[in-house]
């Protein structure tokens, strides 16, 4: 541990018997014009000295409002209307503004979700770090200035001396979140509250930030409250976890027990809705989902708040259950589990089982590992990319400077066969979306071939492509931005039908629209409404319906589930699987959630700085990756299983991807690769087939231990 970080603080050692934080019956309400929203309703929990507590729950469950209430950071119309918050034995809710100010940022600090907006854009990093150290009187401005550099270095910011002199816009999201963490730790708080600190970040950067939080917790004894919707993130950091639903705590326990054996149907549903990256693809890939919406905060159910969606509901559930002990150290707010009834265990392919299977497969080679891949590989691929290059020129920086360009996609070869799903993964900025857009001919590639159904669309005119447009459709990430707010849902789906002349009469169009809405699980009556009236998941269904309208063969889905809650994610995944089965669709599926990619894909492509690093059948890629980068990427993904997380060795990938304006010579991964040798800098490694259908671009493939 770095000595500069362990500062010369000499605050009195707190007495270890009082918990760091004790919250009792906290209730926070928003007094809006439309009525009262009870966002947090009777929440109680404690965080012991040096403990890490996780809070999980879906969007709107009250996690953030809870966190903000702890520091009393909410503004009107929010008011804390009941309860107590004891921090180190002192009542936070009774503090006067001056006492409160003295605690904030000093003994109790907070890291917020969105690093892009959390730093003041017009102030230097140095000032933003120094002021918090100086205002609490722990450091003189000179000391604070030195310490700011030390802290940034400690948080893994490259060239911290230069970094403090910079402005926030000069940093990536990951770097800014490091700055936020440095800020949070600058006065060595006793309690660090982190609200979704890694949600906006790449999985590799997430792993680094989570490591930092774990170290702070372990090495400095800083108590941590970590809020996340991702069970894997919680499993990696937190000893104990509470689950929130509809503003209440519905379950509490040690993370390990809670994940292995959930005692509340909502927790059960959350756990079962997410696929796991360490799990071979089951034959039935449909995920467990729960129907219905989170409760309307204006009109909470009288009985159990989860009852309208609960598959285990009994009569008694019409009355409101208390949070009660169901086993030593475990509490649940559920009549059924309180009565001792266990919840069904999901059929998971146990780890040992999976490993055994992998071994036999390794012997019999790749044949068995790709059960669903269509046998006839002799047939021509539906989509075939050859040596595709797409660069984006940058504006010149000076009249005599050479023109520079972002190397978004470089020399990509890829075949996609009819009826399969190809997953595309890699860190942000590695060219996933560009590749998708090249396939759609939204971008024209600089060179190379894009052959779809036998026709090279890279060089064709838009007019020549038009007939193919029917067969090639795209679903976008942002369910909010990709739909026209001024059109009804029905009109939006009808548009491509009319454009391509698929339906002749109005009646026929209406009928087809109704069909399509039915297909994606929406009531045909919603066709008359506007897209902004729908939730994220519903909107994504609408955009899928729109893509399906023209009866395509091929759908490019660019992060179709990233903006959605896990349960909705599971619903959309199930929908995509059903549709594939029904219509024999071919998917190019882009996602940053690797577990989902493993679950849904037949084959997976790993991109890094615009280049293909590895392509393999899904299970093979995840169980026996050959490329060092793939290894790191997989290792970064947190697994929602505390035992696995604890025993798992990590490979730590430091730093961030280099600039794609001047990518490294030779192998693009060499600047972060521990195996890199001289040859890696001079000779770009070719994509070599190591097993049938398993190619990797590395001079030392499979040699990383």
């Amino acid at each position: 541990m770095n000595m500069t970080f362990k500062a010369e603080l000499n605050g009195a050692a707190p007495d270890t018997d009082t918990p760091a934080l004790k919250v009792e019956n906290l209730r926070t309400q928003f007094f809006t014009d439309d009525g009262i929203v009870t966002a947090v309703d009777g929440v109680s929990f404690t965080v012991a000295q040096g403990e890490a507590l996780g809070i999980v729950g879906e969007s709107g469950s009250g996690k953030s409002v809870t966190a903000l209430s702890l520091m009393r950071l909410l503004d009107e119309p929010a008011r804390i209307t009941a309860g107590e918050v004891h921090f180190q034995g002192k009542d936070v809710l009774a503090m006067n503004p001056e006492e409160l100010r003295a605690v904030r940022g000093d003994r109790m600090a907070m890291v917020f979700q969105d690093p892009m907006t959390s730093l003041n854009p017009v102030l230097k990093i140095a000032k933003q770090l120094v002021e918090t150290m100086v205002v609490h009187g722990r450091f003189t401005p000179e000391q604070a200035g030195k310490r700011a550099v030390g802290l940034l270095g400690r948080m893994g910011v490259t060239a911290p001396e230069r970094a403090v002199e910079s402005y926030p816009h000069q940093f990536s999201g990951g770097m800014r979140q490091r700055v936020m963490l440095a800020l949070g730790m600058s006065n060595e708080p006793a309690l660090l509250i982190a609200d979704e600190p890694t949600t906006a970040l790449d999985v590799t950067i997430q792993a680094q930030i989570l490591d930092l939080i774990r170290e702070l917790n372990r090495d400095f004894g800083t108590s941590v409250v970590l809020i996340s919707h991702d069970l894997g993130v919680i499993a990696r950091v937190c000893r104990r976890t509470i689950v929130m639903y509809g503003g209440e705590v519905v379950e509490e326990g040690l993370t390990e027990d809670l994940l292995a054996d959930p005692r509340h149907p909502y927790t059960w549903a959350l756990i079962n809705a997410v696929p796991r990256i360490d799990e071979v693809r089951p034959s039935d890939r449909r995920l467990t989902t729960i129907e219905g919406q989170p409760p309307d905060p204006f009109d909470l159910p009288k009985g159990c708040r989860f009852a309208p969606r609960c598959p285990f509901r009994i009569e008694k559930c019409d009355s409101h259950p208390d949070l009660a002990e169901v086993a030593p150290g475990r509490k649940s707010r559920c009549w059924v589990t309180q009565a001792g009834t266990p919840l069904p265990k999901k059929q998971r392919h146990a780890k040992a089982e999976a490993e055994a299977k992998a071994k036999t497969e390794a012997k019999t080679e790749a044949k068995a590992a790709t059960p669903r891949v269509i046998a006839g590989r002799d047939e021509a691929p539906l989509l075939s990319l050859r040596d595709v290059v797409k660069h984006f020129p940058l504006p010149k920086t000076g009249y005599f400077q050479p023109r520079r360009a972002v190397h978004a996609v470089d020399n990509v070869d890829l075949d996609v066969f009819r009826g399969e799903t190809v997953g595309l993964v890699g860190e942000s900025g590695c060219g996933k979306s560009t590749l998708a857009r090249v396939v759609m001919r939204i971008h024209q590639p600089d060179s190379g071939e894009v052959v779809f159904a036998g026709q090279d669309i890279a060089r064709s005119s838009q007019k020549q492509i038009r007939p193919l447009r029917r067969r090639l459709q795209m679903v976008f990430q942002d369910p909010y931005g990709s739909l026209n707010p001024r059109m009804t849902v029905g009109d939006m789906i009808a548009e491509p039908l009319r454009f391509h002349g698929i339906t002749k009469t109005n009646a026929e169009t209406q009928e087809r629209v109704a069909d399509l809405l039915n297909t994606v699980g929406l009531n045909p009556r919603v066709g008359r409404r506007y897209s902004y009236e729908f939730s994220g998941g519903q909107r994504q269904r609408i955009s899928i319906a729109r893509a399906l309208a023209v009866e395509p063969d091929f759908i490019v889905a660019d992060e179709p589930i990233s903006a959605l809650d896990v349960n909705i994610q599971a619903q959309i995944i199930n929908l995509m699987l059903d549709l594939q089965e029904k219509y024999g669709l071919t998917y190019l599926f882009i996602a940053h959630d690797l577990a989902v990619v493993r679950h849904i894909s037949d084959r997976v492509v790993v991109l890094y700085l615009g280049k293909v690093m590895e392509i393999a059948p899904a299970d093979q890629l995840f169980d026996r990756p050959l490329h060092p980068y793939t290894r790191y990427l997989l290792s970064a993904v947190p697994i929602p299983d505390a035992v696995v997380e604890r025993e798992r060795g990590y490979l730590k990938l430091d730093g961030e991807p280099p600039s794609s304006i001047e990518p490294p010579s030779g192998c693009r991964f060499r600047t972060r690769c521990p195996l890199a040798k001289e040859i890696c800098a001079s000779v770009p490694p070719p994509l070599v087939e190591h097993a049938p259908g398993h190619v990797a671009a590395c001079h030392f493939a499979g040699q990383l231990q």
């Binding site: 100010r101 904030r104 917020f112 730093l119 003041n120 854009p121 002021e131 205002v135 402005y167 000076g398």
Partner: protein, 336 residues
């Protein structure tokens, strides 16, 4: 930084050349014959005399030729001869500009000094009585017609209460100081004539308040709106979570962000004041550009109108340049 400034400067120069062309074209295609306006009916019916006049002012040459002459003259500081006063336009402008500069600057500073703090407190104590007062002040400022305000001011403070001096820059009996800068406040100081200084200052009070009113309203509103906008940003919550004092948060975090739109708007408002407030200057018999513009327009004095328009255009370009440069200091994001 230098590159940014140089590129802004380059753009400004190109715009300035374009402005000369546009101004020239407009001035030369406006209907109404300046010669006839100047000569009176009798002389205008004498063809030879008219032709002679036209030749004297170059009105008989083709358009492009006249533009080149105009440009050549500009480069040599020659804006032509005013038809009305028969003096070089530049001399006229130099004579009238300082009065406007003095009045506009004092009015503008007044508007800033009151408008910005008022906007800040209105935003911080939103929907309280402070905010309501600010709203009323800015409403009055923005919406009351200048001539009305000017007359009211004169009627109340000069005519009624007799605590303010009447129109004009100085009392009729006061002796104007030697002209050095043309700015009375400065020239009187140079001359050491404190009595006249006080008189000049007193004469500035009413017109500068009238002039400031609209700008003040605008600045109060903009400051309030952009403060409110930036108070809602995430970084303000972060600043609170750091345990900073409220005053530090407002002045150190919110205000620097809120300043950016205020500078844009304020700069343009200043440019507008500088180009001469016809109404205010006329009512207060203020010998500034506004008054000059008014007279020249009435006389269809083309060279003078072109000259004034050009000066106004240059003032706008210059102020825009200054706004752009100040962005470089206020907002690090403008420089990639």
């Amino acid at each position: 930084m230098t590159r940014y400034i140089v590129s802004r400067l380059g753009i400004t120069i190109v715009m300035a050349v374009l402005a000369t062309l546009v101004i020239f074209l407009i001035a030369n295609t406006v209907p109404g014959d300046p010669v006839l306006a100047q000569l009176g009916d009798v002389a205008a019916s004498n063809k030879e005399f008219v032709a002679e006049w036209r030749a004297k002012f170059g009105l008989d040459l083709p358009l492009w030729h006249r533009y080149l002459i105009f440009l050549y003259g500009l480069i040599h500081g020659d804006l032509g001869i005013s038809i009305a006063s028969q003096r070089p336009v530049l001399d006229d402008i130099v004579q009238f500009a300082p009065a406007t500069l003095e009045l506009a600057t004092i009015g503008f500073v007044l508007a800033l000094l009151v408008g910005i703090p008022l906007g800040i407190v209105a935003a911080v104590w939103r929907d309280t009585w402070v905010d309501h007062i600010a709203r009323v002040v800015s409403l009055i400022g923005v919406s009351s017609p200048t001539f009305w305000l000017a007359f009211i001011m004169l009627a109340v403070f000069y005519g009624g209460l007799e605590i303010a001096p009447g129109p004009g820059q100085l009392d009729p009996i006061a002796l104007a100081p030697d002209r050095v800068t043309g700015l009375l406040l400065i020239d009187t100081v140079i001359a050491g004539d404190w009595g006249t200084f006080r008189d000049a200052a007193a004469h500035l009070v009413l017109p500068s308040i009238v002039l400031a009113a609209a700008t003040l309203g605008l600045i109060t509103r903009t400051t309030r709106a952009s403060m409110l906008e930036s108070i809602q940003q995430d970084y303000v919550r972060v600043a609170r979570a750091k345990g900073l004092r409220k005053s530090t948060i407002i002045l150190g975090h919110v205000f620097p962000n809120a300043l950016i739109p205020v500078v844009t708007l304020g700069g343009l408002a200043y440019a507008q004041l500088l180009s001469g407030a016809v109404m205010t200057e006329t009512i207060f018999s203020w010998p500034g550009l506004g008054l000059y513009t008014f007279r020249s327009a009435a006389a269809l004095d083309f060279p003078a109108i072109m000259g004034i328009t050009l000066v106004v255009a240059l003032v706008y370009l210059l102020i825009n340049l200054m706004i752009d440069i100040s962005y470089a200091y206020l907002d690090p994001r403008v420089m990639r």
